[in-house]
């Protein structure tokens, strides 16, 4: 982190960049927030640790409109989103100075809460310079040691790898934290009967409060005006009127990002109701891989997406019924 701060100060000082987009230390051990730093002094509040899960690429849409370059800290998986945004002309590569920051997996405080940990006062072991094997947590109700892995966000268990897809320089070490099959959960659901699947999603989606956090956090959902906020499709934004409508919102959202979603996992991370929204995106990704060949959105900034291209021999929609 210190290296990152010093480098940022240098770049600010020599006017290479006009501002730094990173994280500011929070007032609890686990709640840093995304922030801009415009002076070297302000960087004293800069923090980068296991709780800096937010994907900052989407903020570069606004930052691209500002005067001068913005130094942005992107984790390996964030760089996929950035590439995809370049492809869609939503960010300006020339306005970004990308520091690829190291990542050893990002943490989910909800996971700690699920373990019954509450009254958190201090957490050690979450710095990038730590070995990130265990977390020591002090709480009002006593101390606990938790395996780092057990507190990781879902997305880190299916890590896309420690390589940055786009960057100007890299600071800090990364670790491939993958220890699960990306499609295992999708496959588990596919194996259920239609009735079980319906019930599973009904149960999950009935929790949805239409806060739109999933959409607003999603780097692929970069629409200036979402269809669900406009009258273009006569679609509701603020409340679901019937249970199909709440499904419709999530299906359409996943459909609109199909072939563009990099599987960054922000949707599931931000959902206040813990709905595994990434399952929708993964399902599309799995189908795309299977039907049209493996495709990773954001691996580059040029290729045509799977839904804006085709081959003469594509499978017919009937495959869905045939597959059973």
């Amino acid at each position: 982190m210190q290296e990152l701060i010093s480098r940022a100060k240098e770049l600010l000082a020599d006017n290479t960049v006009a501002r730094v987009l990173g994280w500011r230390a929070g007032d609890l051990p686990y709640n840093p927030e995304a922030a801009y730093f415009e002076t070297p002094e302000s960087l004293d509040e800069f923090v980068y640790d296991g709780f800096c899960g937010a994907n900052l690429s989407k903020m570069m849409i606004e930052a691209s409109k500002l005067e001068g370059k913005t130094l942005v800290c992107l984790k390996p998986c964030d760089t996929y989103s950035f590439n995809q945004l370049i492809k869609e002309h939503r960010v300006d590569r020339e306005k970004a100075y990308i520091i690829g920051v190291g990542c050893k997996g990002k943490l989910d405080v909800e996971k700690l809460r699920k373990m019954g940990i509450k009254g958190i006062q201090k957490i050690t072991g979450a710095k990038l310079t730590d070995d990130c094997e265990n977390l020591e947590i002090e709480t009002i109700y006593g101390s606990k040691t938790v395996s780092y892995k057990d507190a990781m966000l879902e997305r880190c268990h299916v890590c896309k790898g420690k390589e940055h897809m786009i960057y100007d320089e890299i600071i800090g070490e990364s670790k491939d934290t993958k220890d699960a099959d990306r499609f295992a959960e999708v496959e588990r659901i596919e194996a259920m009967s239609p009735k079980e699947r319906f019930e599973f999603f009904q149960k999950e989606l009935s929790k949805c409060i239409r806060c739109n956090a999933c959409r607003n956090a999603c780097p692929a959902c970069s629409c200036r005006r979402c269809v669900f906020d406009s009258t273009k499709f006569d679609s509701a934004q603020k409340a679901n009127v019937d249970d199909f409508e709440e499904k419709m919102f999530h299906i359409i959202r996943a459909f609109h990002v199909a072939g563009r979603c990099t599987d960054c996992g922000e949707c599931s991370r931000v959902c206040p109701q813990g709905i595994p929204l990434h399952l929708f995106n993964r399902k599309f990704i799995k189908d795309i891989d299977q039907f049209y060949g493996e495709y990773q959105a954001g691996a580059d900034a040029e290729s045509k997406g799977p839904l804006t291209s085709f081959t003469f021999e594509d499978v017919e929609p009937g495959i869905v019924a045939e597959r059973g």
Binding site: A54, I140, K238
Partner: protein, 347 residues
């Protein structure tokens, strides 16, 4: 005071729900929210904070106001019936109850919101003391005592028993209706409850936000706070999602919309969020066009405008849900602290 063994709670819930609807924290797909009790509901009284507060019981996320039915070229209007069936909300915390007090200020003052008033009239609140308060809690800042909730009935969950104290007339009536399941509490029980209260208060003193200062936040601070440059940076990570407003026990803004049923229209209202770009959008445009303005609106409303109109009452109760749920780790505490810090720097 009465008591009941934890193992008999199911029988208690059963008995309540025979005559009334019973709404209480139920775990579904790993999340706990207030929901209607059913035989097979996974009741969860240990999770301190339900994701959404219990305000839905009185002010649902969406509700029909009236229905227009079209028959040929004739239209008829059928107003939605007001709540008449009694119900019990079980397991609200002191802060949530305080939240209802805030809502009362809005919906029960003139002009009275009849839908809300009917629910308030027919609803009985059983509030539960907070056994183990958490780091995001700051109810004490707003004068709430989490150890001794003020509602129709107050309950404490200690060990294998639940202690029950009726506070109001409604509370007495409810107590009467389930009395056969309740045992009288003795002096030792009273002692246990006092100890529990003490323990809760001790923990609360240790919580990081308990001593948050609200100095400078009152109904007279409009100009100073509104024009502060602090907002310029503060709002930036805000996603403009509605999480904070939808989990908040006091947010009361709603939108009114029409749903085309194919044979007419249902006019319904649903929660709105001041974080949304079309909040208060009118035919002539929007008076808040930037996220900065919308973000500022939320906190100014909670800490300045509301107290200005309601004898100094804040419309934040310190439940800490926004602290836990904001996807970008922004919240009202950070706002208050940012102003405090800026003030300190100035001085």
């Amino acid at each position: 005071m009465y008591k009941i063994k934890k193992e008999n709670l199911k029988a208690l819930f059963q008995m309540i729900s025979e005559k009334q609807d019973l709404i209480l924290p139920v775990k579904k797909a790993e999340q706990t929210n207030f929901a209607l009790w059913t035989e097979d509901a996974d009741v969860d009284l240990t999770t301190l904070k339900t994701v959404k507060s219990g305000k839905d019981a009185f002010f649902p996320q969406s509700e029909t106001l009236y229905t227009c039915v079209r028959d040929g070229k004739k239209l008829s209007v059928e107003p939605e019936a007001l709540r008449e069936h009694p119900f019990v909300v079980f397991g609200m915390k002191a802060c949530d109850v305080k939240g209802v007090e805030v809502l009362d200020k809005v919906f029960l003052s003139d002009p009275v919101d009849t839908f809300y008033a009917a629910r308030r009239e027919h609803g009985t609140i059983v509030a539960m003391a907070c056994h183990e308060p958490e780091e995001s809690c700051f109810c004490k800042v707003f004068g709430t005592d989490a150890a001794d909730p003020v509602a129709d009935v107050a309950v404490w969950m200690i060990g294998e028993e639940l202690f029950w104290k009726a506070v109001t007339e409604k509370g007495n009536a409810l107590t009467e209706s389930v009395k056969e399941l309740l045992q009288d509490a003795d002096a030792a029980d009273e002692e246990a409850v006092s100890k529990e209260k003490e323990a809760i208060r001790t923990i609360i003193e240790k919580l990081p936000y308990t001593h948050l200062s609200l100095e400078g936040w009152d109904g007279n601070a409009t100009e100073e706070k509104f024009n502060s440059p602090v907002w310029n940076e503060l709002y930036k990570p805000c996603l403009a999602c509605g999480t904070c407003t939808f989990v908040c026990p006091t947010c009361q803004c709603y939108d009114i919309k029409d749903y085309d049923t194919g044979h007419g229209v249902k006019r319904y209202r649903c929660w709105d969020s001041c974080m949304y770009s079309d909040f208060t959008l009118m035919a002539g445009g929007n008076n808040r066009t930037t996220q900065l303005q919308r973000f500022r609106q939320r906190f100014m409303h909670k800490l300045v405008y509301f107290p200005a109109n309601n004898d100094g009452m804040y419309s934040c109760v310190g439940c800490g849900r926004c602290v836990e749920k904001c996807p970008e780790a922004l919240n009202i505490v950070k706002v208050i602290k940012a102003f405090e810090k800026q003030g300190g720097e100035k001085a």
